[in-house]
Symmetry: C2
Subunit: 342 residues, 2 copies
């Protein structure tokens, strides 16, 4: 199995606490997450990881708007010029547009931050380079599978991507790595199933493909009735237009253990088999772990089972890293899933 | 001149610093603002202030959606139940909807906070009661003018209102006092001109009346190209549908002094005269003062001139308090405007 990783992600490291429901939270999406996964990969004989090649922005602009990309690239420089803050400062949105009002494309960086985001994540000086680096990691892994050189590849992407929409960032995600690879695959004529097993609903990926009949999006996640991203991920969101039936959400209750999880997983994978995709993209979050701060309770033995179920689809597969924040178990659980493919 | 005030506003006093462009800012919209205005009113022989009568919510629901009102009334109790935070905690939005996505009416309080706000203002335990109190103050003053008992009345409203939209709060504003009085007046068949002289654009008032031909909204304010509320207040926003031509924005540069201000004011008031309203509602913010933290540079002598220009419209007039945050001059400048009407 090809494993692709790079150091570009280190340019992005948010440190300022942010508001969560009723408390300030230290950003858990840290560079050490990658180190821990690489340690686990090394110690179990997967790898060694390969470096990415640069892809430029062509594939990115098939998913994200040019205006959003331009914003992301220059936002922090504009922020510094406007506020007088330094290189280490974190640019955060506060003002938002009133719904359904006439809107001129925003010029001021504070306006842009409010327009091009859907929560309170920051943009740092290195965010754009790190996000482009994660896309390169993802597309390098994807290309090996798409070209038939590998059956399965793993992209150790950071920052993650599945909360990033076509023109807004949120949830530690700036560019939607999995969606960009999926789009690149469909641009070669393939029909793709995206299977998102992160603890949080992949609202960005859903939004990007919501009207499409050549991409099936299935997601298992904590019910947005109580959990981030709150606004999307309900079971009645089934796609729109020619995409009707191509979006399947499996919201699960707090405290979900493997018994509950596996039932939803089997249903989701049956939907994938019915769709009959040419290839599969897995958005792999392991924040479903008991040890993670969130509410699900999957244990060490569950991750090889999850991997076996995904591998059982028996399709060319790209696995893209999303969430997982408990540094003690993130590596163990990721390699448990990957090991099932070998 | 009738002056109406009450103590209901004291139930709302936000204390937690909030993000502004690049720094944390202590909330400047404090109860002492009202005390200072009342002191100035007493010392210059205006008044004494009269208490409001309760109006209930009928007039409010002519402007704000029932769902928004229900949210505002119960948000803090839901916040406490969900987060376990106490009575003194401040409920603040962070997660937002992705634009143009399917949306189920939000149930979770964090979802509601994100949906029913357009910046990072908090809801406190006393916010709803204070906001309803400000509406009562405003409608009591309005009724005296609408019934013909007074030619001019002043509503010492707090919290202010002009940034509150039909179903979202922001900018220290929760219910749009001036818009609610304006709507009540139009419900009696009157054509109304709203003249907003607050330093910040009255984006909520604009949104509420943007499609209406019986309400002219004119606003002089700092250019949203550099100043809050950023998204609205540009000169090319002229109304929509039957409201085309009924919205006039006069964005002004940083550092604006009276010479520049008065030119725009004369143009705005000429538009009001052309419209020929039955009555006028003034959204009176005095955060245009040199001493205020914002960028305009109006001085003590300019406020009697502003008052004289507004009084020169010679229409039944309701003056509603909006912003103004420099405690040393807020009272002086408000009574200077009011004095021109006597």
């Amino acid at each position: 199995m090809l494993i692709v990783a790079s150091d570009a992600h280190r340019a992005h490291h948010a440190r300022e606490p942010f508001p969560d429901a009723g408390r300030l939270m230290d950003p858990p999406e840290v560079p050490e997450r990658v180190d821990r996964i690489l340690d686990a990969i090394a110690s179990c004989g997967l790898g060694p990881p390969q470096p990415p090649r640069p892809f430029g922005s062509t594939a990115v602009t098939r998913v994200h708007s040019a205006a959003y990309l331009e914003f992301l690239e220059h936002a922090h420089a504009r922020w510094r010029a406007t506020t007088g803050r330094d290189e280490s400062s974190e640019a955060v949105a506060y003002a938002r547009a009133i719904r359904d009002q006439p809107f001129v494309r925003p010029e001021h960086v504070v306006t842009q931050l409010g327009w091009y985001s859907h929560d309170t994540d920051p943009i740092l000086a290195g965010t754009y380079d790190a996000a482009i680096g994660a896309v390169d990691v993802t597309l390098t892994a994807w290309e090996a599978v798409a070209d038939g050189r590998e059956r399965v590849a793993y992209a150790l992407a950071r920052p993650p991507g599945h909360h990033a929409a076509a023109d807004s960032f949120a949830g530690y995600c700036y560019l939607n790595n999995a969606a960009i690879a999926t789009q690149a695959w469909t641009d070669r004529g393939a029909r793709i199933a995206v299977v998102d097993v992160d603890y949080h609903h992949g609202n960005g990926t859903q939004q990007i493909f919501y009207d499409r009949d050549d991409v099936l999006f299935v997601s298992l996640h904590a019910d947005p009735a109580f959990e981030y991203p709150f606004f999307l991920g309900f079971a009645n969101e089934e796609g729109r237009g020619s995409g009707v039936g191509r979006n399947r959400n499996y919201p699960l209750p707090a405290g979900t253990e493997w018994n509950t999880y596996t039932s939803a997983l089997e249903e989701a994978l049956a939907a994938v088999r019915d769709f009959g995709p040419d290839a599969v993209v897995v958005s792999l979050g392991v924040d479903t772990a008991l040890e993670d701060a969130d509410t699900f309770r999957l244990v060490a033995d569950d991750y090889p089972r999850l991997g076996a179920a995904l591998a059982g689809l028996d399709r060319p597969t790209l696995v893209v890293q999303e969430g997982g924040y408990c540094l003690e178990v993130i590596g163990r659980n990721v390699v448990a899933v990957l090991g099932a493919f070998t």
